[in-house]
Amino acid sequence: MTLVFLILAAITILGLGAAMSLRNPVHCVVGLTIGFLGLAALYLQLGAQFVGLTQVLVYVGAVAILIIFAIMMMRSSESPEQQPYSRSWRVGVAIAFAVYCVLGWAVHFGAHTLPTQAATPELSVQQIGDALLHRFVLPLEIIAVLLTAALIGAGVLALQDPAGEVRGPR
Amino acid sequence: MFGEGILRGLAETARNFFGSYVSKDRLTTVQFPEERIAPIEATRDFPFLVYDGTDWEQGMRCVACQICEKECPPKCIYIDKSKDKKPDAVGKQQFYPTRFDIDISVCMSCQICVEVCPFDAIKMDTEFEYSTQDRFGGLMFDKHKLSKSNEYYHRIHPTEASAVDAALAEERAKAEEKAKAAAEAAAAKAAAAAAVPVVPKESGGAA
């Protein structure tokens, strides 16, 4: 629990908490981005360079931008008058607390199985690449097919006109 | 199509860049306050009053006919006529303006005042650097400021000035001839009157 970890954890929690609780959707996106950056910094602090940097590249550079585009297209800049919380928020909080308890119990009681001298393994990008293309090549190819299907589907949806209607200058 | 248009464009701009250091016609900027282009002859900026000779008040051609004041579209000319007369460019006795003001902040350089002046008294100047910080009269030119000599007119508009001078000389010659003819006629009349014999009073008691 070093100082750096505490600061990064605070930034992440504040960012994601802001993403949950602010009213203006754009402020929420900014909070979400801060949360993602905090997570990336935590990955980097653990020594996982590739994962941390890919987190920035993918989550901030693509997912956050996607959410931004969605907000811009829907023009929902006006913040709703009251917090759009669901009515069963107490049940939600209880379930979240239960999940937290389970995770905490698992970590606490499994902590003694971890090596005490945390020798950070030198996990280079080359090893990740090797693993992906030797041991995990089937999941990799399946994900590639999935992404291609998604891309083609998005293209088809965008090209389609509403059935039978051709609007034009007549 | 393969990008050679882009390459040709790049070559052209490179030629411009290096050429601007070497040849004068690739860098045509005239850096204004330090360098100036000479104005062409037909340049017109603001009006001025022409005077002949060296005395600007006596040689002024303007006779205060006020035609230019009436014709000026934005009405920027202000003229006051005098009570007495002085000889004009041709020699005739004419009125003259005691006040001739042009507000050049209003003047639009349309040259109508020049076109309608029957006496070639007002012409267009080529001077334009009149900016001043005096908002309340710095751009109202009075008679003295507007008067410039005929030599100056020759310098800025040579062909026009020569044509005007020729026309004025012709009129002056005509006026002189007329004056000479009138003088001769008057002299003849005087001589005729003087040549009438003094009739002695004969019919003193024949009433």
Binding site: L57, S77 | N16, R26, L27
Partner: protein, 398 residues
């Protein structure tokens, strides 16, 4: 340690590194990591804004000469003090924030842009042993930081609550996202050739010489294609002409930073130019050999000088292209990115992989070059749209 037994050229080359070590000797041990970080970062914060100032002047004078006029030449001799005048102007201008604007997001956008742009310099090796952070995944870090810039642009465009800003922001983000893929893929070939994502390793792989010629990647067919594609994508990423539709001065009057004035505007300007220098620096690192000299008999010139000479050359190239090409329309931009750049970069990766497996010699040189030329020809023919003029059909209008 190379400290005092070095020759004069080596000492000139390593002068900044030596100075830093000497200064560190005076710092107490407890503060040393912090001091080391500060001493590495402060030169970046000083040098690159200075280069930015010089580049604004160079650009204005260069563009002027290209357009048959003088550039600014009033402020100092030959206009050399013009950047100072510009800086003073932007500092003293009133900072106008629109009434309905989102104040905090409006403030944070230029800050985020400048911070992200500065972060990218952390992995550029400016000279031998002169890199701020020798990350083993340096290239990935660089491209990840580029993603932060897009968020900053969105924040700027949205928070101004103006139609033109929003439109400009959407166009800018669409453009940057579209050109990011070709940028990464074009840079990937250098990583493939080196076998490492570390920028220091990439430069050192190019700093070898056969005879007098260096092993720069730009001298290989795939490297040359990669360099050209990388520079085109870099021009698009920095929103420079001919890809400056998002900030088109004659169309949407500065696009997403239309509501900014004074110092925040200067920060945007700074952030954009810093991004341009960072991407040029990455191009130099990946393809032009970083700090290595172009001929083996020129290695006595200090390495950081070579880096800045190459940076100057690329900047002049940017200015030259800006003065030559007209602006691309949005749909032309997008077509160019997805229909030309992306296939070309993918084929380039294929060629780079083939290069690694073919035996060295003139055959693989010509083979790869011809393959790339054919691909180029076919793709440019595909770019030309034939018979696409028909009556416009609206999908959402009445």
């Amino acid at each position: 340690m190379i400290v005092f037994s070095a020759s004069g050229a080596e000492r000139a080359d390593q002068i900044f590194v030596l100075t830093k070590y000497w200064l560190m000797g005076y710092v107490p041990t407890a503060v040393q990591p912090l001091a080391s970080a500060v001493l590495s970062v402060v030169p970046i914060l000083l040098v690159f804004p200075l280069i930015f100032a010089i580049t604004t002047l160079l650009e204005r004078k260069g563009l002027g000469r290209i357009q048959n006029r003088y550039g600014p030449n009033r402020v100092g001799p030959w206009g050399l003090l013009q950047p100072m005048a510009d800086g003073l102007k932007s500092l003293t201008k009133e900072d106008i924030v629109p009434d309905s604007a989102d104040k905090w997001v409006h403030l944070c956008a230029p800050l985020l842009l400048v911070v992200a742009s500065f972060l990218a310099y952390a992995v550029l090796p400016i000279g031998r042993n002169m890199v701020v952070a020798n990350l083993s995944a340096g290239v990935l870090f660089f491209f990840a930081i580029g993603a932060l810039v897009e968020v900053a642009i969105f924040m700027a465009g949205w928070s101004s609550r103006s139609k033109y800003s929003l439109l400009g922001a959407m166009r800018a983000i669409a453009q940057m996202v579209s050109y990011e893929t070709p940028l990464v893929l074009a840079g990937l070939v250098a990583v493939m050739a080196t076998g490492s994502l570390s920028t220091v390793a990439i430069v050192e792989a190019q700093a070898q010489y056969t005879g007098i010629f260096p092993h720069w990647f730009v001298f290989t067919p795939w490297g040359f294609a990669g360099f050209v594609l990388f520079m085109i994508a870099a021009t698009a990423e920095s929103n420079r002409s001919p890809f400056d539709l998002p900030e088109g001065e004659s169309e949407i009057i500065a696009g997403y930073y239309i509501e900014y004035s004074g110092f925040k505007f200067a920060l945007f300007f700074l952030g954009e130019y810093l991004g341009m220098f960072a991407t040029s620096g990455m191009a130099i690192t990946l393809f032009l050999g970083g700090w290595s000299a172009p001929f083996s008999f020129l290695t006595w010139v200090p390495s950081y000088l070579w880096f800045f000479i190459k940076l100057l050359a690329i900047t002049c190239g940017f200015i030259w292209v800006r003065g030559t090409l007209p602006r691309l329309r949005m749909d032309q931009l997008m077509h160019f990115a997805w229909k030309f750049m992306l296939p070309m970069t993918l084929l380039n990766i294929f060629v780079a992989a083939a290069w690694k497996f073919l035996p060295a010699g003139i055959v693989r040189w010509f083979g790869c070059a011809i393959f790339l030329a054919i691909a180029f020809v076919l793709l440019t023919r595909g770019l030309k749209r034939r018979g696409e003029f028909r009556a416009r059909q609206y999908r959402f209008a009445e």
